[in-house]
């Protein structure tokens, strides 16, 4: 879907040439979320802005469906790519409806169609349409504004979404909520998404694929599992942190390692459900000093058990184990 080839961007700064992006190669498949991860100033945002041509590259090219984006008209290209930024950038003088409808308006949709689309999107992002459609941005909370920022980017149903730290300005609780909602939405929409983040936890949670940036280069890329289990590079290891095992376990669920229950568990003992992630299961195992937990279906029937040894085995399995979420 999106293929980046040997991309580079050199800025002039105080007479010196600074390479913000330096030979980046990246491929993102249709329907994937690819997170560009790294400290500030590592070139991830510049790479993102080259894709919708807000920044002109010094070298290399970006292909969308096999076509070089440099051959597109920049304005047409941008209208086909949804763009969400950290500061949201809702237009304060426009209502929610007008904000969501702005790209459709540029594309010449009728007012009726724009309104219908705004209502549809508000419903999808979980805001009561009739209540919010006429509001102005100053009447929204940060989380609501960012939801509408996402709705605005989705308005003309672009196949590609670029998101620059979209949840970065929110408090941790709203951020978690928005991430969950967004992932649920993506399940249905299947957009191809490039997502810039500086937070490893967010990347592990959101990504199908992570590319770790350092000084304009990609130092490591792969599935979250592969990236988290790779300790060969000191920078990457340091960036991920020493609790990487826990971070990996968050991507896995009890259902993946269920074994038939062959022992009796005490009534009222700690238990999990198949959809609980393994970090939660591990935490409960450690807390109760047990080597196995019973796993019950939501309806109360036993589903199996989760053994500590299997969790360990999964971590040893290493990079070839794909996240099944």
């Amino acid at each position: 879907m999106i293929k980046i080839e040997n991309l580079s961007k050199v800025f002039e700064q105080d007479g010196r040439r600074v390479a913000a992006v330096d030979g980046v190669d990246l491929e993102v498949g249709r329907g994937e979320i690819c997170v560009l991860l790294g400290p500030s100033g590592c070139g991830k945002t510049t790479t993102l802005k080259i894709i919708n041509r807000l920044v002109v590259p010094s070298g290399g090219r970006v292909l969308v469906d096999g076509q070089d984006t440099a051959e597109f008209d920049a304005i047409t290209l941008r209208r086909k790519i949804g763009y969400v930024i950290q500061q949201v950038g809702l237009f304060p003088h426009m209502t929610v409806e007008q904000n969501i409808g702005i790209v459709p308006r540029l594309l010449g949709w009728t007012p009726e169609r724009r309104r219908a689309r705004a209502l549809e999107l508000l419903d999808m992002i979980g805001l009561e349409p009739q209540q919010y459609v006429g509001r102005y941005p100053r009447e929204l909370s940060g989380g609501q504004a960012q939801r509408i920022g996402v709705a605005r980017a989705l308005a003309a149903d672009p196949p590609i979404l670029l998101m620059d730290e979209p949840f970065g300005a929110l408090d941790p609780v709203s951020r978690e909520a928005l991430q969950d909602e967004f992932l649920a939405m993506q399940q249905r929409l299947g957009k191809t998404i490039i997502f810039v983040s500086h937070e490893i936890d967010e990347a592990v949670k959101m990504a199908d694929r992570i590319a770790i940036f350092r000084s304009g280069r990609i130092v490591r890329q792969g599935t979250p599992d592969a990236v988290l289990s790779d300790t060969s590079d000191a920078f990457v290891a340091g960036f991920i942190g020493r609790d990487r095992a826990l971070k990996r376990l968050r991507r896995h669920h009890c259902r993946e390692i269920l074994e038939p229950c062959n022992r009796a568990f005490a009534r009222g003992a700690p238990s999990v459900t198949p959809e609980d992630d393994l970090r939660t299961a591990l935490s409960m195992l450690v807390e109760a000093d047990l080597d196995a937990l019973p796993c019950y279906q939501p309806d109360g029937n036993i589903a199996g058990m989760v053994r500590l040894a299997r969790i360990r085995g999964l971590l040893d399995g290493g990079a070839e184990l794909e996240a099944a979420s």
Binding site: Y83, I85, Q87, L106
Partner: protein, 218 residues
Amino acid sequence: MGELVAYVGSNWPKILWLTWQHITIVGVAVGLAVITGIPLGIAAAQNRRLAGVVLYVASIIMTIPSMALFGILIPLLAVINRGIGYVPAVIALFLYSQLPIISNTYAAFRSIDPALREAAHGMGMTRLQRLRFVEAPMVIPVIMAGVRTAIVLNIGIAAIAAYIGAGGLGLLIRSGITQTDTRQILAGAIAVSLLALGADRLLGLLQRRLTSPGLAAA
């Protein structure tokens, strides 16, 4: 009080005519100032050095007392035989209008959040669309406030222009003073005040109409 009413009653065609003169002087001066001040303000918003110079000069002009400014203009314009009357009055008011209009235009453009420009750019707006959909609706109310200030300010200053023969309601005040006729002084002064208040009110309404409810102070 009764005398004043009687005076106005028998002289209202003259008062109306002077009011009209007053409005024309201010209207032409501010109209011209809008044409020059807005582009200057926009240019200043793009260029820090230009902004320094333009705003500095406009502020200095503002500090010149009106009598002194008329005094300066008389010998200058005498060269083209327009030392007194309508022309120097319009020029003086034009100069006084620059600061509110330029500085409001400058501030309005400078205050647009860069994130809005980036969002507009990133979603595929052309330069013209960004101006139409994003910048204009945000700057027009602020520029309008500057024009309103300029007009109200100049309605007062224009009264003094009667001393250089420009006409307008100042004429009533001037002849009232020379003839020690309180009725004329009061009629002139009240008319100028009413004109200023009315203009302020009217322009305030217009300004509110042009401001999106989303921008109104919370």
